[in-house]
């Protein structure tokens, strides 16, 4: 066996995005030893890409009309009732405290004339609820949490990739991985481990996700025996950049529509007004004429929101259908136009969108429409966790943020992720710290380490000669074709067959070079995670025979009452992916009353 560095902490946090950093703050405040592993440099995690804002019912705009109860209802409706209601209740209540706490840590939100935090409208939210800083809220959030966490001095392991969770019986007692800069192996011993590794969009060709989003956390938890949930629920953000090809998939914030952005097809029609696109349960809550939608810009109390602000799954499907009906824009998407708000307003409220289109797309959004098309953005599914503690189905293992499941159900509302990571980052940190206080370090047999080392080192000696980039590209093509917005049994089965053959070929990967900062080597290990998670996504999508939220099956186009009562659970059984169901937790009467109101 090769040598490795060994480190010991009370709590090990894998991931240094918003959820991981917030968890670290809790663990440090509990006075315990905390290690934080960051796959990239500190402050570069995917949180930085969030633009529009953090949803919490502070009620700074509409006064007492908005409160956690309305936020609860909106989130349940948006998630099409696959959400765990207790998780949503905790979230809607605590989101408020977490946003105010962020301000104590140093975040500087945009202000109302009264000097309070300004809130903007967003898809699926009844009231203006997104606490924001222009269109760079994610940067504000991660930098604030980073600075706060750094001031408490946990141990950061930057540019370090964890590739396996280590067990003592059923309990998670550590993790193994390597330092990217020098290729050294690292063993972490910990009394509790928090997975905060974010989502997985890299198996799709057009994605807003960075190279890191390869599903490490979900895949490692699955391999260790933890339950995954709702894995078929992959969010397609309606507005990704489309042209030129170099920028395809990059996110265009929902804030553009929040600030009055209009969607049009090639005929110039404002197609979101098409009544066919209006889901029955949202009918009556949205403007029914362009005049009303325009008046809403200036008086949000007397007018209803424009239908561009329907939830993401709805808008994505509408764009998809417009393109299918040959009403597409020049490069095969639709137009998003905010130029009517005027240059000064756009530059102050959407500065990074202005810059992004100006620098990368040769478009001046203060004068011209943008071309957009849905892009893979977020994963609602993940590691199944307990609402109160963020604990997974394995003792000693916790999960928070995008890598966890339960809050968003079948579709996440924009703005809910930034408060999700703070609410459940804190809860995971608190619970893991409480657990670590009474637990002792486990013992792990060395065979787990030896086994992971051989997996990691295999691509240097394998005689197969498969290129990880080629396999990755073929996977992306297959997922984009078979597991995109509109799915069918036939397409999913074809896609699954390709994934399974790619998993076989991945055993023959070969990379040149050594262990020092070697992207080919990194890609080879990451790809194994992505291939496994892709298999789980497609198998889950095949299993759920209905259309709900992000899951749109052309062969089962309706919502099914039966399926609406079940979450899909994935576990490893006999080395295979096994999918079962679990009843969606019942809503207690007082919460049900909120939804029915």
């Amino acid at each position: 066996m090769e040598s490795y560095q060994a480190y010991e902490h009370d709590v090990l946090i894998i991931g240094a995005g918003g959820a991981g950093l917030r968890a670290a703050i809790s663990v440090m405040e509990a006075g315990l030893s905390c290690g934080v592993v960051s796959k990239s440099l500190l402050g570069k995690a995917h949180t930085v890409m969030a633009e529009g804002g953090a949803a919490a019912a502070l009620g700074n705009m509409e006064g007492e009309a908005d409160n956690w109860q309305v936020h609860f209802k909106d989130t349940m409706l948006g998630g099409q009732f696959l959400n765990n209601p207790r998780t949503v209740e905790i979230f809607a209540k605590e989101a408020i405290e977490r946003v105010l706490e962020l301000e104590e840590y140093g975040a500087v939100f945009d202000r109302t004339p009264a000097g309070l935090i300004a809130q903007r409208p967003f898809g699926g939210h009844t009231y203006r609820r997104l606490n924001h800083v222009g269109d760079r809220t994610g940067l504000e959030l991660i930098r604030t949490l980073q600075d706060k966490a750094v001031s408490l001095r946990p141990t950061f392991y930057m540019e370090t990739t964890v590739t396996r969770l280590l067990k003592d019986g059923e309990r998670i007692v550590g993790a193994f991985g390597y330092n990217r800069q020098n290729g050294e192996f690292i063993l972490f011993k910990a009394k509790a481990v928090i997975v905060a590794t974010g989502g997985w969009g890299r198996m799709y060709k057009f994605t807003s996700n960075s190279w890191e989003s390869t599903g490490d956390g979900a895949s490692m938890a699955f391999e260790a025996g933890a339950e995954l949930m709702d894995m078929e629920m992959v969010q397609f953000h309606p507005t990704g950049m489309l042209w030129p090809p170099g920028v395809r998939g990059i996110l265009v914030t929902e804030g553009v529509r929040g600030e009055g952005g209009i969607l049009r097809n090639s005929k110039g029609e404002r197609f979101m007004f098409n009544p066919d696109y209006m889901p029955p349960h949202y009918k009556g809550n949205f403007a029914e004429s362009e005049g009303e939608a325009h008046a809403w810009l200036f008086d949000k109390e007397k007018n209803r929101r424009p239908p561009e602000l329907l939830p993401r799954d709805v808008v994505s499907r509408a764009i998809y259908k417009e393109v299918l009906a040959a009403r597409q824009s020049e490069h095969g998407g639709v137009y998003l136009d905010v130029s009517h708000r005027g240059a000064d307003y756009i530059k102050s409220k959407l500065p990074s969108m202005y810059e992004q289109f100006h620098a990368l797309g040769d478009i001046d959004i203060t004068k011209q429409p943008m071309e957009v098309y849905p892009t893979i953005h977020y994963t609602m599914g993940g590691i199944r966790t307990e609402p109160e503690t963020a604990e997974s189905s394995l003792p000693g293992l916790y999960a928070a943020g995008e890598s966890a499941a339960g809050l968003h159900g079948a579709n996440r509302l924009g703005g809910n992720s930034l408060t999700d990571i703070m609410v459940f980052g804190k809860r995971a940190g608190d619970a893991a710290a409480a657990y670590a206080r009474t637990a002792s370090h486990g013992t792990m047999d060395e065979s787990q380490i030896a086994d992971e080392q051989s997996v990691l080192l295999d691509p240097f000696t394998n005689s197969g000669g498969e290129n990880p980039y080629t396999i990755s590209q073929e996977l992306q093509e297959a997922m984009q074709k078979g597991a995109f917005i509109a799915k069918t049994e036939e397409g999913l089965k074809e896609c699954l067959a390709i994934i399974m053959s790619l998993q076989e070929r991945a055993k023959q990967m070969r990379v040149p070079g050594d262990r020092c900062y070697n992207p080919g080597w990194q890609t080879a290990r990451d790809l194994r995670f992505t291939l496994k998670v892709s298999e789980v996504i497609v198998r889950s999508a095949l299993e759920r025979k209905e259309s709900r939220g992000a899951q749109w099956r052309l062969d089962y186009p309706e919502k099914s009452e039966e399926w609406g009562k079940k979450n899909l659970i994935t576990v490893k059984s006999g080395g295979e992916v096994k999918i079962t169901t679990r009843p969606v937790p019942q809503m207690p009467a007082e919460l049900k009353a909120l939804v029915d109101s």
């Binding site: 440099l41 760079r136 001031s151």
Partner: protein, 266 residues
Amino acid sequence: MKEKIRLRLFRGVDANGYEKDYEVETFPGMVVLDAVHQIQAKQDSTVACRWNCKAAKCGSCSAEINGKPRLMCKSRVEDYYDDNGLITVHPLKTFPLIKDLVTDVSWNYKKAEQIPPLTISADAPRPFRMQQMDVERIQEFRKCIECFLCQDVCHVLRDHNRKDGFFGPRHMVRIAALEMHPLDEEPNRRAQLRKEAGVGFCNITKCCTEVCPEHIHITDNAIIPLKERVADDYFDPVRGLIRLIAGPKKKSRPAPIPKPETNVGV
């Protein structure tokens, strides 16, 4: 746009490093980072570079393109290739090399640890009330994506290697955001600026401002006002005399904004 271009990349892990040319096929909108990715996928998967968001929001892919500190994800190839279709990409010069285009920027993180966090008095009324016009100037500083291009170009750090005496423009911006925060009460910021952070080292050549991909006016809006505050505290003879008599100055906090009748905003 040329159909094919050549990328001349720095390769290596130490002083024995060398330049190597790679031919790359272009596509509309291609940025330098795309070209490096194409080399990794099709020609040599050992080429090391950092990147994350590919949308100029994370500040990971800093490099020197044709000798200029730039984000690779924001640099269109047609803006950089010469008549022969050649673009040269090197790692940041100011920081120790790890491999190829990747440098060891950990010094920046160590300096960040030395800056005291925002300190708000427990007595400050909650929820905080601050006017947009009062926070706007620090919001400019908080746009920083920590790409460290300003640190790379700063001649105090780059040419004179005074990392022992000057925190660099990135951290001047960070300290300015804290010093100018309406609620901050940390008493030692100016002392730190004068001494260990070394604000006096900057001689206002504005190179940092020129390379900032977020267009932060680092010199004019952050460093010069900080220099003035330090000068006020330490080098103004009249104030010195007043302090001698009246004792050290406490950091003043603006009076809270009176609570209006309603919370309703715009």
